[in-house]
Symmetry: C2
Subunit: 268 residues, 2 copies
Amino acid sequence: MNFSNIRIVLVETSHSGNIGSAARAMMNMGLTRLVLVKPRQWPSQDAISMAVSAVSLLETAVVVDTLEEAVADCHVVIGTSARLRTMPIPLLDPEQCAAKALSMPPPQQVALVFGREISGLTNAELHRCHYHVHIPVNPDYSSLNLAAAVMVLCYELRKYALTRPQLLPVPATLHGNKLDDGGAWDQEPATAEELDRYLTHLEAVLIRLDFHKPQYKRPLMLRLRRLYQRLQLDKMEVSILRGMLTATEQALRAGKFPVENPTNTSDS
Amino acid sequence: MNFSNIRIVLVETSHSGNIGSAARAMMNMGLTRLVLVKPRQWPSQDAISMAVSAVSLLETAVVVDTLEEAVADCHVVIGTSARLRTMPIPLLDPEQCAAKALSMPPPQQVALVFGREISGLTNAELHRCHYHVHIPVNPDYSSLNLAAAVMVLCYELRKYALTRPQLLPVPATLHGNKLDDGGAWDQEPATAEELDRYLTHLEAVLIRLDFHKPQYKRPLMLRLRRLYQRLQLDKMEVSILRGMLTATEQALRAGKFPVENPTNTSDS
C-alpha cells in the first residue's frame, strides 16, 4: 500500500494536541506525510503527548506559511468543507475522496487539506481546492474534531486501497499517466503551482485588455480558477495557454490591439 | 435515521477525556446512547471538556459495573478486537458491522463494545460478543485512540444508513422481526441475558451429568457459548432448550439416569 504521494495539510491548527492526534490517526492508516501551515504552536509538547508512538511523523512534518506553499507541487488538492458554497466546487464524499486520491498514483502529488478548528478553511483557501470533501454528519451537531475528520478520510483511503488493490500501485511514467476513467494520457499533469502561474499571467493580460477590472470586485478570476482546476490541465496544455497569453502581450505592446472600446461586462 | 437501539459501551476507560471525545464522535454521527462500564473517573471534567457540546450525551450516559449488565437486554453484541483469537468469533469489518447492527431494528437492541485503552477487552469479555469487529489498521502501528475507533464505527453506521435508506426504519413487531437475509421470523429474538441464563442452566446440568468437569479447565462452555451465540436464538427456542434441561434435571432427580459410566472426553 503506497500513500507516499498523499499529504495531509493542517491549516493554522490552534490546539497542537490535535496535530498529535491527527498524526496518530494517519499512522494508524498508513499515511506518513504531514504538512502544517502556520500552526499556532510548534514544536509542541501537547502534540508529542497525543501522537503517542506516531511521534516520528511529527519529526518529519513540513511547516510552511501558506496553503499555496503547502500544495505548490500537487496535482490534486482536496479540501474539507462543512459549508455549502455560493460558488460550489465539485463535492466528494469520503469514499469518493479516497477514489480520487488513489486515482493519482506517484509521482503525482495529492493533498488533503483540513482547516482551523473553529472556522475551517477561508473562502480563498477553499477556492484553491480542485475538490471539496464533506463528511456526512448529523446536521444538528456537525462540529467534527480535527483528528476525527483526519481519521475518517485516512480510514477511507486505507479501506479503498485494501478492497481495490488492483488500483495500487499503478506505474506512472512520463508518457503513461492515468486519467480518472482509467484511460492513458500522453503528458504529465500540471501542478497547482504551474496553474497558479498561468492564472496570474492570465489575470495580468485580462487587466491589460481592460476585460478584467479588479476594482469592481467581481469573482471573474475565481470563476476562471474553478474552470481551469476542473480541467486537470497537463503541462503541455499550460505551456500552450501561456504561449497564447505571451503572444497577446506582444501584440498589445506592438499596438496591434489598441483597446478603444473595452468590454464592460466582464463577469457575473 | 434511527440509531435509538444502538448503544456504545466503553469498558473501564482510563482517561475520561476519551469518553468525552467518544461522545462527540457519537453525536457527530447521530448516536445518542452511551454506556460506561466502571470508568476510572466519573463524572469527569476532562470528559466534559472533550465532549464540547455533546455534553448532553454524557449526562444521559448509563454507568454499570460489568459488561454483562451493559448488554443484558441486547440481541446482538459486537466487540472491537485487534487480536486474533485462538477460538475465533465471527469477524466483521466496520462496514459489515454497520450492516449487522442495522439489520436489527428497534425494539431489538444492539451493543458496540470498546475495551480499555491499553489492553482492550479481556478474553472473557470478547467471548460475550456475538461478533468481533476489526478496524483495518497499519499492522506496524495498530494502536488506535479509543475515540478514533468509536468514530470509525459510528461513521460507518451513518454512511450505511444514508446509502441504504431502505433498511431504515424497518417496522419490527412481535411476529414480524427481520433476519439477516431479510426474511421474516415468527418469534422475538432472545436477549444476551436470556442466553446467559440458558448457558448457566446448561452448565449446571452438564456438571450434574458428569459430562462437564470444570476442574479440567477445558473450554467446553466457551465453545457452547460461541455455538449458541451464532444461532441467534429466539425466545421460544430458548424456552424449549431450557424445558429440555429442566426435564433432564427432573429425570436425574427421579433416578432415571443413574450415571454409572460418565463420558470422559467432554471437549477439546
